[in-house]
């Protein structure tokens, strides 16, 4: 609860954030051809009738499956590139148990967005990482996941993991505790129960432990744990989204 209050306080201190938007629906692909990766993803909230633009999600929908949308209305994006109220930040989790009818809209005059590199892009292996400045103290890094997935999201989790390993290589902590969480107590969305598989916390923790080992961390200093009782966190990488912040792995380094 303390963490939740801190998250709320941090969010309020920064700016009056829009209310969170959270619902389940079938995604719609709008084929705005503005070059590579330029198509739009739209999501209609059946309860309000509002069509949202969820294209800014780190992992995009699959038009064959329902998605859980979690986000906030963007503050200040100019124009209407896709034909929906822009959510940013936003997460879209594919709900594989619920099939959808594929639906694709033509551009209908909407320009879409030209592709630009995102803010969380991993550098090539050949590019030297700057050594994070010391002094080094106990520190926790976090990776965040889609519902019921342990997959490290491209241009999101890989970036966060790269930040973590760069610091770990420099700081050389004595021990690392990897804790994976399953969010089983998430509120319903669109009348549907959104409760993660209790085993996903363990799967996430074991995957991240393996990932750290592949990146050169001595497995002997890693302790792997899992929990089904996550609290939200005010980590900047969670972009202020409360429920997604619970679906995570903590990488806690101690000296």
């Amino acid at each position: 609860m303390k963490a939740l209050l801190a998250l709320v306080a941090a969010t309020q201190a920064a700016a009056p954030a829009a209310d969170p938007v959270r619902f389940v629906t079938c995604p719609i692909y709008r084929d705005t051809d503005a070059g590579r990766k330029s198509g739009c993803w739209l999501a209609d909230d059946r309860a309000t009738g509002v069509r949202y633009d969820v294209s800014r999600a780190p992992s995009k929908p699959d038009w064959n499956y329902a998605i859980l949308i979690e986000g906030r209305v963007a503050d200040g994006e100019a124009g209407n590139p896709c034909g929906g109220v822009v959510l940013d930040p936003v997460r879209t989790s594919i709900l594989s148990s619920e099939r959808c009818t594929r639906h694709m809209l033509p551009a209908e005059g909407f320009p879409g967005r030209r592709f630009v590199l995102g803010k969380r892009v991993v550098k090539p292996a050949s590019v030297a990482r700057a050594t994070p400045p010391g002094p080094y103290r106990d520190r926790t890094f976090r990776l965040f996941f889609d519902v019921d997935r342990d997959f490290l999201i491209y241009e999101y989790d890989d970036y966060l993991l790269d930040q973590a390993i760069t610091w770990i290589r420099a700081a050389k902590p004595r021990a690392i505790a990897v804790t994976g969480y399953a969010a089983m107590d998430a509120p319903d969305a669109s009348g549907q129960r959104i409760s993660e598989d209790p085993g996903i916390g363990r799967a996430r923790a074991e995957r991240v432990t393996e990932a750290l080992a592949r990146l050169g961390v001595d497995p002997a200093i890693i302790t792997t744990r899992w929990s089904t009782e996550p609290q939200p966190v005010a980590d900047p990488a969670a972009d202020g989204l409360v429920e997604p912040s619970k679906r995570r792995v903590d990488i806690a380094a101690t000296f």
Binding site: R36, S38, K60, N64, Y65, S96, M104, A125, L161
Partner: protein, 479 residues
């Protein structure tokens, strides 16, 4: 096919077929005629004696050497045309046609051409995989799918050769053994298709590129060599460390690319940078989208050069257009595991050929390139009654695009990982030296480069114009 236009013939072409134990000197530079002009093979560091060299020596009982299926004239792969030539020249007695994998199945009458039809007509070698699968370290994997044999035209997926005896036979093209620094390059530390850092070689402790074999069953040249020696060469004892070092040293010195086109002349003229010399000196593993664009080797040809013949000018313009089509003509990619799942690009996603063929100068994937284009999976694969067909039933989560049941002629990467989500994924390969090594795709289902373009056009409903198709074919022939 080999026209008489100026420059069509390679000067001083070496003998095309390289037999094991021939004792020839491997030259620093060799030019071979191929379907569109001249292929050039460079050996970095100068000529090499092959006498006693393990790549060229028949060290196993079947009379084969590595070079049998990795012929310099075929871009260090093996074309179906070359296989047919050997059949004719030797009456089917060449070690290439060894019963173990140079025939459709060892149980067939080996003197009959029909028993070798997959190699002769489609350039395919039999690959016998373990069932249940074994991972990169050789450990048995518990698969999350069942496999049943639906069609077995050659009898190599039943009885002693079937899954019930721990074996599955698939049929694949030999991959070119050249330009390996590109295929071994580590562009990024992470494999976005697996959502993990790159897998680590247990022997060296270093990350592996994941781009070596069609099903990624070997992550290093050492493992690949051991696998090939034990299967294709039927070697009952291991290669020695010294032999493996010799082979590795040789293979990593080889650079292969098209050097000259029969119509267009030299591919490194007029400001273009085609040919293998550039490959030898360039840095591998670069992502074209953030550096030197893929196939920008031909960017100088976008501007007409005065004084060229009409045919040469037209050819250069076509190759340059083909490179732009390759990079810029976007289409909707859908239901392709390794692209549309699970890495979060979305299904569908709009992009171009270069989305996956993204490594500068090579056209393979900088990330480990296991992708299901549908070349082996129904309904996207073309009819191939001559290949076996398997029914895969996913026991856990269904496949994100095919559902619970998948029909495939080659499960590909799934025969290494044991995951139904990987069925039909085949590792992207180098796009160099294509004109010398038809047919294409891992199962040889595209007899020509035009067939490759047509497959993609059908698969993704791209709508290439006739001109765009010709431009892409000319581009690929120039690589």
């Amino acid at each position: 096919m080999f026209g008489a236009a100026a420059g069509a013939r390679a000067d001083h072409e070496p003998q095309r077929w390289w037999a094991p134990d021939s004792g020839r000197v491997f030259p620093a530079r060799a030019d071979y005629r191929d379907s569109t002009g001249t292929l050039r093979v460079l050996l970095e560091g100068g000529p090499m004696e092959t006498e006693g060299h393990p790549f060229f020596t028949a060290i196993g009982p079947d009379g084969r050497a590595c070079v049998t299926c990795h012929q310099p004239a075929d871009g260090m792969s093996l074309s179906a045309e070359t296989a047919r030539g050997r059949w004719t020249a030797t009456g089917g007695k060449d070690p290439l046609f060894a019963a173990y994998d140079g025939s459709n199945c060892p149980t067939l009458p080996q003197g009959d051409r029909a028993s070798h039809s997959l190699l002769l007509d489609h350039g395919l070698i039999r690959i016998q995989r373990h069932w249940p699968p074994r991972d990169l370290s050789g450990k048995t994997v518990t698969p999350d799918f069942d496999i049943a044999v639906v069609r077995d035209p050659w009898g190599c997926n039943r009885g002693d050769y079937g899954p019930e005896k721990g074996r599955i036979s698939v049929y694949r093209r030999p991959r070119p053994v050249a330009n390996l620094k590109y295929l071994l390059a580590i562009g990024f530390a992470y494999d976005p298709k697996q959502g993990m850092p790159l897998a680590i070689d247990p022997e060296s402790g270093k990350p592996m590129s994941g781009n070596l074999m069609a099903d990624a069953r070997a992550g290093t040249l050492d493992v690949q060599m051991r696998d090939a020696a034990a299967t294709h060469l039927e070697l009952t004892k291991h290669l020695t460390p010294a032999q493996m070092r010799q082979i590795t040293t040789f293979e990593t010195r080889l650079f292969v690319a098209q050097q000259r086109d029969v119509e267009g002349g030299p591919l490194d003229a007029g400001g273009a940078e085609g040919g293998p010399a550039k490959l030898e000196t360039s840095e591998p593993g670069q992502l074209g989208s953030i550096g030197k664009p893929v196939w920008s080797e031909f960017a100088a040809w976008e501007k007409p050069e005065p004084g060229l013949s009409k045919a040469q000018a037209a050819y250069r313009a076509s190759v340059a257009r083909g490179a732009k089509v390759f990079r810029e003509k976007t289409f909707l990619i859908s239901d392709s595991a390794g692209i549309n799942s699970p890495m979060g690009f979305g299904n569908p996603v709009r992009n171009a050929c270069v989305f996956c063929h993204n490594m500068t100068q090579m056209g393979n994937d900088v990330a480990p390139g296991q992708v299901d284009l549908g070349t082996t999976n129904m309904p996207f694969a073309d009819p191939m009654p001559y290949l076996p067909l398997f029914r895969i039933t996913c026991k856990g989560a269904p496949h994100p695009h095919y559902g619970r049941v998948i029909y495939t002629s080659d499960p590909g990467y799934a025969l290494t990982t044991g995951r139904c989500a990987d069925v039909g994924k085949i590792t992207l390969q180098s796009m160099r030296g294509l004109a010398a090594r038809a047919p294409y795709f891992s199962n040889g289902s595209a007899k020509t480069l035009r067939d490759v373009v047509d497959f993609y056009d059908r698969r993704y409903d791209i709508g290439y114009t006739e001109q765009e198709k010709r431009d892409l074919v000319n581009l690929m022939g120039a690589l």
